[in-house]
Amino acid sequence: MIQIQQASKTYDRGRSFAVQGVDLEVGAGELLVLLGDSGCGKTTLLKMINRLVEPSRGRILVEDRDVSRVNPVALRRGIGYVFQGVGLFPHMTVAENVAVVPRLLNWEPAACRDRVDELLHLTGLSPRTHRDRKPDELSGGQRQRVGLARALAARPRIMLMDEPFGALDPITRDGLQREFKRLQQTLNLTVVMVTHDMTEALLLADRIAVMKQGVLMGTGTPRQILRNPSHPYIAALMETPRRQADQVESMLRSGGEGQ
């Protein structure tokens, strides 16, 4: 579905690289998580897929077409995007935000309206109470849901997500993550998601790609990454969730003995 071939990005004519020589494939219906510290180049790599960032070298194929040959506006309208910090338009209502891309694609007004209600249902919002609200009248979790609905509006087969659950409290985040995973499987979406949250990556991903200083350190399923890390950096990175899980588990066990 998405093929990244030797993609590099430099902002200073090759003295340093934000992304360097990355090869990566994402299969249809796969949820790939790009994992790494802030500044590791994962967001830059994500933005190359819909040409928000143009690669300095290498090429990217989406559905077997070289994106550099595709009109960027048409490309972006065909790919869902959930932005870091959501980026809802503050002057538009929830319904108008969700209908942005269908309107850009000149859908009939009636079709737009139906699609908005359908998506609000799908993302767990009530069309009647939320449709006409402005973003600043929503909670963080509700805004995130609208952002998701907006990305899904024109029925894209590919979704790019930049820290989509970043600014939420743990309980809201957990709920949304699970709902999204279910949605992704139902709609058979191909997803590339950027995060620095190891636990989120392990719980959501079909496959994880770890990046460090612009370089791809390795890829694998969550199980592979956790059990047989291909690189010491990945092993070190997994140390935190592993230790946390052990602690929680031992607490559960000792609590059980106490009863």
Partner: protein, 513 residues
């Protein structure tokens, strides 16, 4: 302030307000039409930002009156065009700066979202940037509106009728009713326009139909009334344009001329409170048809002559020169002289034994001299200083209407008085003799533009003025305005009657003043 004085002023309101509205609305809408695209361009091409905003800022720092006056020589015209261009420049800074600030203030993550969702840069502008910047842009437009309505009152001296006609002529003739009506009308107009724009903004932001209709209806009423008010001046093209400089005698004479022309069945437009040189240039260019000037003024300021032939020679040479160089016709001398003269309070003159300017030479270093805006830069002043070796301690410039009171109250010791001014007697001032004849004679002359000189009916209506007004009559007419509080129109009727000419019935008097 009596009721009839107010009614007198209000009769002029439709004409002044109509011109003021036209000027304001045209300047503002052009300002918006120019500035919005320019501001958008500036946000796209960052290197333009500094030069464009700097030029707009510089235009803003020029005082309004100076900017308007500058437009006259730059465009070579008086009237609507220079006023319009100056006001357009004046409206630019707030609209430009607020639009640029508003667009650049849109959060980067919102812009990225717009781009990432597949908006073209045009769609991003119209669907995201402009709607989000709208409150700031509209605030800029509202600022510009208030500024332009206020500054438009300054377009009177460049020959564009506005509510400023009330203010300028009211200040000169010490008619506080006129000044108050002018200021009040401008303030009300500014508030109404500002609130209409605000209402329109609220209607759009709150998606309120009612407010939208209200704002739309208000705007329509204003546009419609502007058209209605403009209709009387829009018909025909042969109106006679009568000019006047900014002091009482000129207003009275312009009124008298207008009344005679009206009676002869001609349509008259007035351009009052214009500077000397602006008025002369406007006459030669044909933008003004006639006005009263003074021989000495033309001799020294236009012809740049330094010699002083006898009074009659000077007149003859001036007539010939005006005809030859500018095809300007001197229809005749009115009969009186309005000389520049140095005046001091009589008590001071007696105490210091001052009879002529020569007696002033020794006292000058301890004295302050007051004069009108023009005097100290006119060649007559240089000639006077040189001839009598005058070296005053301090010079102060005044509005002509305030100069006499300044002398009476001792704010200044000497003033450059106009010898026909009624306040010389009223305030007990004495005019010092000029034994060296440093100052030229200032015979009042009626001058016609080349086009006006060819209009027989106009010449016929005005040639009756030749030699009929003596110094005393003119002084009495001036005093009626400056001291007794009559309007220039009333005083003009007195003047015409005093010299045996008839004036039109009261209803039409001053319709255009």
């Amino acid at each position: 302030m009596t009721e009839s004085a107010l009614a007198d002023q209000l009769r002029l309101l439709p004409d002044y307000l109509g011109h003021h509205l036209t000027l304001t609305l045209v300047a503002l809408s052009s300002g918006i039409a120019v500035c919005l695209p320019l501001a958008i361009l500036v946000t796209r091409v960052k290197s333009l930002q500094w030069p464009v905003l700097t030029v707009a800022s510089v235009a803003q720092t020029i005082p309004g009156l100076a900017l308007l006056a500058l437009m006259v020589p730059l465009l070579g015209r008086i009237g609507f065009l220079p006023a319009f261009i100056a006001l357009l420049l004046y409206s630019m800074l707030p609209i430009l700066r607020n639009t640029v600030t508003g667009i650049l203030g849109v959060a980067p993550d919102i812009l990225e979202a717009a781009e990432g969702l597949g908006m073209t840069s045009r769609q991003r502008l119209f669907r995201v940037e402009l709607p989000l910047a709208a409150p700031v842009i509209i605030a800029g437009i509202r600022t510009a509106t208030v500024w332009v309505v206020g500054s438009a009152t300054l377009s009177t001296p460049v020959g564009a009728t506005s509510l400023g006609n009330y203010i300028f002529s009211g200040l000169q003739t010490q008619n506080s009713t006129a000044v108050l009506v002018g200021c009040g009308a401008a303030a009300v107009l500014a508030i109404v326009l500002d609130q209409l724009i605000r209402l329109g903004e609220l209607a759009v932001a709150g998606r309120s139909r009612t407010k939208g209709w209200l704002a739309g209806a208000g705007l329509l009423v204003i546009l419609f009334s502007t058209l209605i008010l403009q209709i009387p001046t829009a018909k025909g093209s042969a109106a006679v344009v009568v000019g006047a400089k900014p002091f009482t005698e000129q207003y009275v004479l312009a009124e008298a001329i207008s009344q005679r022309l009206t009676q002869a069945g001609l349509r008259v437009e007035n351009r009052s409170s214009m500077g000397s040189m602006i008025l002369f240039d406007a006459l030669t260019a044909g933008h003004v048809d006639c006005y009263v000037d003074y021989s000495g003024t033309i001799w020294a300021n236009v012809m740049k002559r330094k010699d002083l032939p006898p009074r009659a020679d000077l007149l003859e040479q001036m007539k010939a020169w005006l005809q030859r160089e500018h095809q300007v016709r001197v229809l005749g001398t009115l009969g009186f002289e309005n000389n520049y003269g140095l005046a001091v309070p009589r008590r001071k003159a007696e105490a210091l034994k001052l009879a002529s300017i020569r007696d002033l030479t020794g006292h000058a270093p301890q004295m302050t001299i007051g004069a009108d805006f023009e005097f100290f830069v006119r060649p007559e002043w240089a000639a006077l200083r040189e001839a009598y070796r005058l070296d005053f301690r301090e010079r102060r410039t005044f509005d002509p209407s305030l100069m006499y009171a300044a002398a009476r109250e001792g704010v200044v010791d000497v003033i450059s008085a106009y010898t026909t001014d009624g306040r010389i007697i009223e305030y007990d001032l004495s005019v010092l003799a000029d034994p060296l004849q440093a100052l030229p004679p200032y015979d009042a002359v009626l001058v016609l533009s080349p086009a006006a000189a060819r209009r027989a009916e106009l010449v016929r209506a005005l040639e009756v003025f030749d030699g009929i007004i003596d110094d005393g009559t003119m002084r009495a007419a001036n005093k009626r305005v400056d001291v007794d509080g009559e309007s220039p129109a009333q005083s003009a009727r007195f003047l015409l009657k005093a010299v045996g000419l008839s004036s039109p019935p009261d209803a039409t008097e001053g319709a255009d003043s």
